[in-house]
Amino acid sequence: MIKVYTDVSMIMIGTSFTGIPRVVMELVKRLDKRSELDLVFIEYDSQSDAYRILDRNLFVSFCTTKTDKRNDIRTDEFLSFDDFEKDSIFFDCDTVWKTRVKRSFLYPLLKKKGVKIVPFIQDIIGIDYPQFCDKSDVLNFIDFIGASFLYSDKILVTSQTTKNALLAHEKNMEVSLPEIGIVPLGGDFLKKNEDTSNVSEKIKEIASAGKYILMVGTVEPRKNHKLLLECFQKHLRGWMNVVVAGYSGQGMNEFFEKLTKDPDYGKKIWHIDNATDSEIDYLYKNCFAMVFPSYIEGYGLPIIESLVRDVPVIAADNEINREIGGERALYFPQDNSVILANMLFSLVNSPKEYNELKERIKGFVPKTWDETSDCVIKELTEVNGKTAL
């Protein structure tokens, strides 16, 4: 069995589980069932300046239920920075750059102990597109990525786009990156026969108020919700509604002010920031199309989620969206609300064109989370077979 440590400090204090935490929780549920791994979940404790070991079964259960009894998960066992065993694997897959323990501090210590380090990097948006991020977060992220470049035994990423982004940085440095493995994310979130009795009347009313385009994802600058609002206000008003489903992120005060002051807010354009999984599913299934104007994504799970549900996707034309959406999606030039509106107008007025688009989606089979975890096991097993760098 391979001993694998995973720092889940951020999940232990998190309040929403979208994006990276969601990926970690899906992985944890599956990796736990695998006999190849001896998983140890840890959380940094500042009072003892050590990692607290978490109850594995309770943490895995929390990843499924998300019911808040996280204090019960914390044991009284601690692991100091010196206690990590030689040849164990430190699998860093959560938003670890936000934790107290800088990787520029931790990774050299682990390296000296002969621990193998495998960070799971879902994107490097913080470095390549820092204008969309909190500056302090960017500096912490540089700490994490720099340490990953310097000390990892292998780096795992979720897309060719992210691998290319990492390799582009290698050219400017005096170090060679360790090997980079690609682990595509699963898309089988869909539960069969989703129970619509869990869907609120408000959501049902929104879905039945008229044709609507849907955007799913945290409302934050890099997702470019302002383009959707601009498109609605200049072109779509009166013939296409807009539903924005996602938690409210930082740096969007100006957007929310414009949105909530629109005379059609709450009638033709909505923001829903606390939809349940059932409600998101309902919104997907009843929308005309999912529109994805993001400037940059780590992966773009909403594209997968849409295609799985036979929902047409119209995405901004960039490398990651093309990698994930492939031939099944339509693409519009970044930031061009006119072309986006024209595409929607064309689809609304031509049922033939719309049906052809839906035909392109049929038969889409996403990678499953089981395949994702198989891939992770394969990568960790390979690292385990090699001497620590």
């Binding site: 232990m12 204090i13 998190g14 309040t15 940094y44 500042s46 009072q47 300046d49 808040d68 996280r70 936000k98 107290r100 323990v101 800088k102 520029s104 501090f105 050299p108 913080g126 470095i127 390549d128 597109y129 820092p130 204008q131 500056k135 302090s136 960017v138 500096l139 912490n140 540089i142 700490d143 990525i145 720099g146 470049f149 310097l150 940085h169 400017n172 440095m173 005096e174 170090v175 005060n253």
Partner: protein, 154 residues
């Protein structure tokens, strides 16, 4: 810990790239590359002041914030520390509730690093900081109250 040349090169390259992207978008980090590099490799609990003993003013403030709180000082922090000497800046930093709540220590410092009354009061709220249910409750508050709470614990 002091970075070796290889380490410094990697972090400097990444910082420089991000810095150039920010400048292209008319934004700024709020600290210089050398300050960022000096904040790296810091222990999560114990900080050795001798690594920053040569810094003064905003440079010292930025470095201490990055090391102790993993963030840059806010405009309010910078205004409050404008004109302060090193001792004044250290006193300001150790009086931040975050310093006590996180149980930080600054070693080899020629100035007092004992938190003031405010810090000692807030250190007893350390449990609340990590309580997901309290954090979830706080997130439901109006934005202004959320910012005020962040300000208290920052």
């Amino acid at each position: 810990m002091i970075l070796n040349e290889r380490e410094a090169n990697v972090y400097a390259c990444l910082f420089s790239h991000a810095d150039n992207e920010l400048k292209r978008n008319r934004q700024f980090f709020g600290c210089e590359e050398n300050i960022f590099l000096r904040s790296l490799s810091a222990s999560p609990k114990n900080t050795d002041y001798t690594q920053f003993a040569d810094l003064q003013g905003e440079a010292l403030l930025e470095c201490l914030f990055l090391v102790l709180f993993q963030r840059l000082p806010s405009e309010k922090d910078r205004k409050k520390c404008a004109g302060k000497d090193a001792e004044g800046i250290v006193k300001y930093v150790v009086n931040k509730p975050s310093f006590s709540v996180r149980g930080m220590q600054i070693d080899n410092c020629p100035y007092s690093t004992k938190p003031g009354l405010k810090g000692r009061i807030f250190s007893s709220l350390a449990v609340g900081m990590n309580s997901p249910s309290l954090r979830r409750f706080a997130k439901k508050m109006p934005r202004g109250i959320q910012n005020a709470i962040r300000g208290i614990f920052a």
